[in-house]
């Protein structure tokens, strides 16, 4: 039982990170219908940027955190302006390909600057002592991650619900042309959604980096996030977070119990198995918008 709870607990912690990254993905998809294949690589790149601020340049933690977010926003705006805006109205697949090329570009940049070395924050900016909950063990850093993720989700949903900017973004997500005809600058909204998504990615990258260290392999989370996004439903921010937790817990439990039986690697494919089963039952995910199509 303890083992089971332990798996569940660490699954929840991984799940929050999945949820965060999935949120960044959903933000861009909702606003501009672009599937951002570069999400994972951008996260990895920003994690390295934050490492430079925290450890190389010895900024105080708050300043380093803010500096990373600034870099994230600038990066997102540049990418949106110069790579994606020229392609508005072009075939969807060309746009997907551009995001793939972007991910290769960021991989190259990362290698150019940090040479793909494994880095850890020194000193750690989150407390990392172990905590005991009865017989369960967890690190404080993971708890902080959980808290930060929850705060981020709440503040984003408040942002969408109550601010004018959030209203504009929801309007654009609904229908580009209708929004434009009401005088909304759709381009601006795209830029905003890229910027917010990059901030979410940067925070996700810093949290993940403080738990497992920063490495080239972090970009894999960009692929992990696809089943999460679909499970939650492509258009739903809350869905992304909940699905992140579900996938995190299930894959951790499955990995824990099945890995010894089949020889490892269950964690990597289990989300997809869940996904294929769910898609056969609920094709639009748990909280996705059911599209009614007409000719």
């Amino acid at each position: 039982m303890t083992v089971f709870l332990q798996y569940t607990l660490s699954g929840l912690m991984t799940g929050t990170i999945y949820g965060l990254v999935a949120m960044g993905f959903v933000l861009i998809y909702k606003a501009s219908k672009i599937l951002n294949f570069a999400q994972g690589t951008i996260l990895m790149f920003l994690a390295y940027v934050s490492w430079s601020f925290f450890t190389q340049l010895h900024f105080p933690p708050v300043l380093a955190f803010m500096a990373t977010l600034c870099v994230a926003v600038i990066l997102a705006l540049v990418v949106e302006r110069f790579a994606l805006r020229p392609l508005i109205g072009q075939p969807l697949l060309a746009i997907i390909m551009v995001t793939i090329a972007l991910s290769v570009l960021f991989e190259g940049l990362e290698f150019l600057i940090w040479e793909s070395e494994h880095k850890v924050y020194e000193p750690m900016w989150l407390p990392e002592d172990a905590m005991h909950l009865g017989s369960l063990i967890m690190s404080q850093a993971e708890l902080y991650c959980f808290a930060i993720a929850v705060i981020l989700v709440l503040s984003l949903s408040l942002f969408f619900k109550y601010t004018r900017r959030g209203l504009l973004m929801r309007a654009v997500a609904e229908d580009h042309q209708a929004a434009q005809s009401r005088g909304i600058r759709v381009h601006n909204v795209f830029a905003w959604s890229w910027a917010i998504s990059a901030i979410v990615s940067a925070i996700g990258g810093m949290l993940l980096g403080s738990i497992v260290g920063i490495s080239y392999a972090m970009s894999w989370i960009g692929l992990k996030v696809f089943p999460v996004v679909l499970l939650g439903g492509l258009e739903s921010l809350h869905g992304a977070v909940i699905a992140g937790l579900i996938v995190g817990v299930l894959e951790n439990i499955a990995g824990g119990y099945l890995d010894p039986l089949v020889g490892g690697g269950v964690k990597d494919i289990f989300p997809y198995i869940i996904l294929i089963i769910v898609l056969l039952i609920k094709p639009y995910g748990l909280f996705g918008l059911v599209r009614i199509e007409r000719i």
Binding site: A94, I96, L105, F111, F226, P227, L230, G265, I273
Partner: protein, 351 residues
């Protein structure tokens, strides 16, 4: 299609011919002769590259039928190719079948594996489908790695003997080149034919509007699965060719990035056209080859700079070329090629 002034078709058959005029035929034959003569003048390295391009072209043709014509996005092509390669390898090594039985059998087996992973396509589309095919990529490779007893897993891999044809072993690169190119020409012809047939037209109808297609009497369930089947059959042939070309299979030869690049080749070449698949593949492979060759040359020019930087240079140049290309020509090379052909035929008039 626009023809030169003075070329008239007197029958439907004539109008529909792929090679319509004598210059068409002469260009085609010249190209075939070039393909035959080339290996005798090329270096071993270029020959190798050509074989790989040929094999990739077959895989991308399959993807073109599924994604370009039928509109079902797939990022599992490399895994299906792996499935084909391993089925061919196992049929040859474990059952001792000759290649002319093993290759078609492997292709058909791969086709059915494609149908299994294509089943969700009946209910979902677009991005949802993309992720189920991503699942296919992970699950197939996972199976290959973990069925160690059959496939040799990550450690040993699977060795495949050379093909024996009429008592001769295909053991040198030149012999393999001719063998592979014969298949490439055959599969290209097949892909072009499918795209012009009733099947291809059904695919295009589904791509343009699947609901409308269904109302017109096209059975979506049947044709979507057929699309997955044909796509995977092409992948199976490509995989078998890869197995007999490389002689040693390993799960690392069929990674996700390859699947994504196959899609990329298709997009850069031009979706939905047979020529586009070839253009895109050649563009990608030649570009990455040039980068591999010239990165060290650039590195030599700047001896003061650390050599590690130039390892990343390849990535950067590759990404930037593709980015610029897509930003300025999102419809692919084939679109540009059609414009070029049309303007040549209309010369000296603009339209």
């Amino acid at each position: 299609m626009i023809q030169h002034s003075g070329i008239y078709s007197t029958s439907y058959k004539e109008d529909m011919a792929i090679f319509r005029t004598i210059p068409h035929w002469s260009w085609f034959i010249a190209f075939l002769i070039a393909l035959i003569v080339f290996p005798f003048v090329a270096t071993a390295h270029i020959l190798n590259l050509l074989c790989i391009i040929g094999i990739t072209v077959v895989a991308v043709h399959g993807l073109n039928l599924l994604t370009g014509l039928c509109g079902q996005i797939s990022v599992g092509q490399a895994a299906f190719m792996g499935f084909g390669a391993y089925s061919y390898g196992l049929l040859v090594t474990k059952l001792g079948l000759p290649f002319w039985v093993a290759l078609p059998l492997a292709a058909v087996l791969t086709g059915f594996s494609g149908v299994i992973f294509g089943l969700p396509a009946v209910r979902v589309k677009g991005f949802y489908l993309l992720v189920t095919t991503l699942g296919a990529q992970f699950i197939i490779i996972w199976l290959i790695i973990h069925l160690r007893g059959l496939t040799g897993g990550m450690i040993w891999g699977l060795s495949v003997a050379n093909v024996r044809l009429f008592g001769y072993a295909l053991d040198t690169d030149i012999k393999k080149y001719f063998f592979i190119m014969a298949f490439v020409v055959l599969m290209t012809f097949l892909a072009k034919s499918i795209s012009r047939s009733r099947l291809g037209r059904a695919f295009i109808a589904i791509r343009d509007n699947d609901l409308a297609a269904e109302v017109m009497g096209i059975n979506l369930f049947y044709y979507k699965l057929i699309a997955f089947f044909t796509c995977s059959v092409f992948a199976g042939v490509a995989g078998s060719l890869w197995a007999l070309f490389i002689n040693h299979l390993h799960p690392d030869q069929f990674v996700l990035m390859d699947s994504i690049w196959y899609l990329g080749m298709l997009i850069v070449g031009g979706m939905g056209s047979t020529m586009g698949a070839i253009f895109g593949t050649v563009f990608f492979k030649v570009l990455s080859e040039l980068i591999v060759i010239y990165s060290p040359v650039i590195a030599d020019l700047f001896p003061a700079v650390e050599s590690g930087i130039f390892a990343s240079l390849g990535h950067l140049i590759f990404a930037i070329v593709i980015l610029l290309f897509l930003i300025f020509e999102p419809r692919g090379i084939n679109h540009r090629w059609e414009i070029l052909k049309a303007s040549y035929r209309l010369h000296p008039f603009a339209y």
